[in-house]
């Protein structure tokens, strides 16, 4: 154990473990994303051995898991500071971390080697539930519930034990309730597809556009207090405003997924209206991010974290706000729905809203862990540049492909098999698919550069408690 680690709470050491697991799974995610993209270029690749659905399922499931791990890790990182001591039930949390890893590993092995089962309950319990993002078999979903409950106990129990209920803790505790509650739909096997999708969206939309947004809001608030010394009154006031606006628009924004699944017509108006409101608070966050960046000289203590936070505010607005609003009005969504256009938005929004944010936390944790007071250098720039450039290229390529599908496949062709086939052979679509894979390579290189740099922060350090910056910016 290095000398630097001594100053950390156990909860923070656990956080570092979560970050390590998250970064590894981030890599696995990219691997399977890249593989998935190759099927579009070489459809007969691995045919009947390892088909598209298995590869793509591993891509999106590792995505959810690594982001969840990174978000939980971030809370474990900041929580001791917030309550002024070790968190409650740290032993359980440590055990659950390993349980979580084992669950993920077993599920991955089953997905890779077994892939699917017969049409019976056994498959749902032990192989594959076959619902997008929620494919993990039921036994594993139970395990995830246990992990989430332990996590909730850590947060809520700590607040109670220390008799300290800050505004941030209130928001966090209350946010954990819906976060866990909506996840209970992960066990459902509704015969009626409309009912299935209705509740399925409660998880998918409510996680990414409500509860996770609040979670990352809490993380950003604690981060600002720690690194910029912003007062509690300020960050909590801002957090409340954010919660008010994000949930005010986001909860009923759920309606943008209820246009076409068999639900009543009023969802067209509700979904369209509230999703038009969704970008407005995001613009406020852009203003806030730039304000904080400038006035608190964050730039001077941790340059990479500063740039990743800025990228988060920008990426959240453009990926979720611009890319979301572009195709959210029902008259447009009727044609863009369920095409690569959706994929374009999905990638951009997840990347902008969450990936950039948690990378900022990685840099911060790495800085504290190594005891560097000022983190500058140039190495981080490669990861930052390549990841952002790769993602931008990918989403532009997907937008092109998606627009070709909406145009030729849906609007002109009328969404039949023939229309789908024609659109998929359209030159714009094909070009988009090639470009996506190409930029995927850039993105993967960015990942390597990021990991390299995160690890190098330690090596640059002559002594654990060095005060001066190892490399002037």
């Amino acid at each position: 154990m290095s000398t630097a680690e001594i100053g950390l709470y156990r909860s923070q050491k656990l956080a570092l473990r979560y970050f390590t697991a998250a970064v590894i799974l981030f890599g696995v995610m990219i691997l399977f994303g890249f593989l998935s993209s190759l099927y579009y270029l070489h459809p007969s690749m691995l045919f009947k051995v390892f088909d598209f659905n298995t590869s793509k399922m591993l891509h999106i499931d590792t995505l959810v898991i690594w982001l969840l791990m990174a978000l939980m890790g971030s809370i474990y990182w900041f929580l001791p500071k917030e309550i002024g001591g070790e968190i409650a039930g740290i032993r359980f949390a440590e055990i659950m971390f390993w349980a979580f890893c084992v669950i993920v590993a077993i599920v991955a092995v089953v997905f890779i080697f077994v892939q699917y089962g017969h049409a019976d309950e056994f498959s749902l319990w032990f192989i594959n539930q076959g619902r997008k993002y929620l494919e993990a078999p039921r036994w594993a979903s139970l395990g995830i519930v246990a992990v989430l409950l332990t996590f909730s106990y850590n947060v809520i129990g700590s607040a109670i034990k220390r008799r300290k209920m800050t505004g941030i803790l209130w928001v966090l505790c209350l946010d954990l309730i819906p976060l866990v509650l909506v996840y209970t739909d992960a066990f459902a096997a509704q015969t009626n597809m409309s009912v299935d999708l209705y509740w399925w969206w409660w998880i998918v939309h409510m996680w990414v556009e409500s509860t996770w947004e609040v979670l990352i809001g809490c993380i950003m608030a604690m981060m600002l207090m720690e690194i910029a010394g912003t007062s509690r009154r300020i960050v909590e006031t801002w957090l409340y405003i954010e919660v008010m606006l994000v949930l005010g628009a986001g909860i009923l924004g759920l309606g943008h997924h209820y246009f076409w699944i068999g639900t009543p017509e009023y969802w067209l108006s509700i979904g369209g209206f509230f999703s038009a409101l969704e970008p407005l608070p995001l613009l406020g966050m852009v203003v806030h991010a730039i304000y904080d960046a400038g006035s608190h000289h964050l730039k001077n203590t941790n340059t990479p974290a500063f740039w990743w936070i800025t990228a988060e505010a920008f990426g959240n607005f453009i990926g979720a706000g611009v890319w979301g609003f572009m195709m959210t009005l029902p008259q447009i969504n009727l044609f863009s729905h369920g095409t690569q256009w959706t994929v374009s938005h999905g990638h951009f929004a997840f990347y902008g809203a969450y990936v950039c944010g948690v990378i900022a936390v990685f840099y911060l944790a790495r800085q504290k862990y190594t005891g560097i007071e000022h983190l500058h250098g140039k190495g981080w720039w490669w990861g930052f540049g390549l990841l952002n450039f790769g993602m931008l290229g990918m989403v532009m390529a997907l937008l092109l492909a998606g627009m070709a599908q909406a145009f030729y496949g849906r609007a002109i062709g009328g969404s039949t098999l023939m229309a789908f086939t024609d659109a998929s052979q359209n030159a714009w679509f094909v070009a988009g698919m090639w470009a996506r894979t190409g930029f995927g390579v850039v993105f993967a290189l960015g990942y390597v550069a990021l990991v390299w740099d995160l690890l190098a922060i330690r090596k640059r350090l002559p002594q654990a408690a060095a005060v001066s910056s190892p490399e002037p910016a």
Partner: protein, 98 residues
């Protein structure tokens, strides 16, 4: 909607939101970095307004959606300055200490 109108309307909606982003970013930039950036903010907002009008006049979107888009363009005008003033006011007590 005709196939062309789908892409056209979606493109305008996207550009409008993107211009709103430029407006917000330039606006704060003008406060924090260089006053001159305010021209960029005005330029971007001009684009927001122009796109809202264009959407209103030239797309086959329903009248309700058109009104919503014009209204949101108006609200966009207020978001950066209001947020800015609020942030300054919020930070004022602390700034005096340091």
């Amino acid at each position: 909607m005709s196939p062309e109108a789908v892409l056209y309307s979606a493109g305008l909606c996207g550009l409008l939101t993107l211009a709103a982003f430029g407006y917000g970013a330039f606006y704060v930039g003008s406060k924090m970095l260089a006053v001159k950036l305010i021209y960029g903010a005005h330029g971007c907002y001009f684009i927001v307004a122009a796109l809202a009008i264009l959407i209103f006049l030239s797309t086959p979107l329903g009248i309700g959606w058109k009104i919503l888009i014009v209204a949101s363009a108006v609200v966009y005008a207020a978001v950066p300055p209001v947020t800015w003033r609020f942030l300054v006011k919020l930070h004022a007590p602390e700034e005096q200490h340091s």
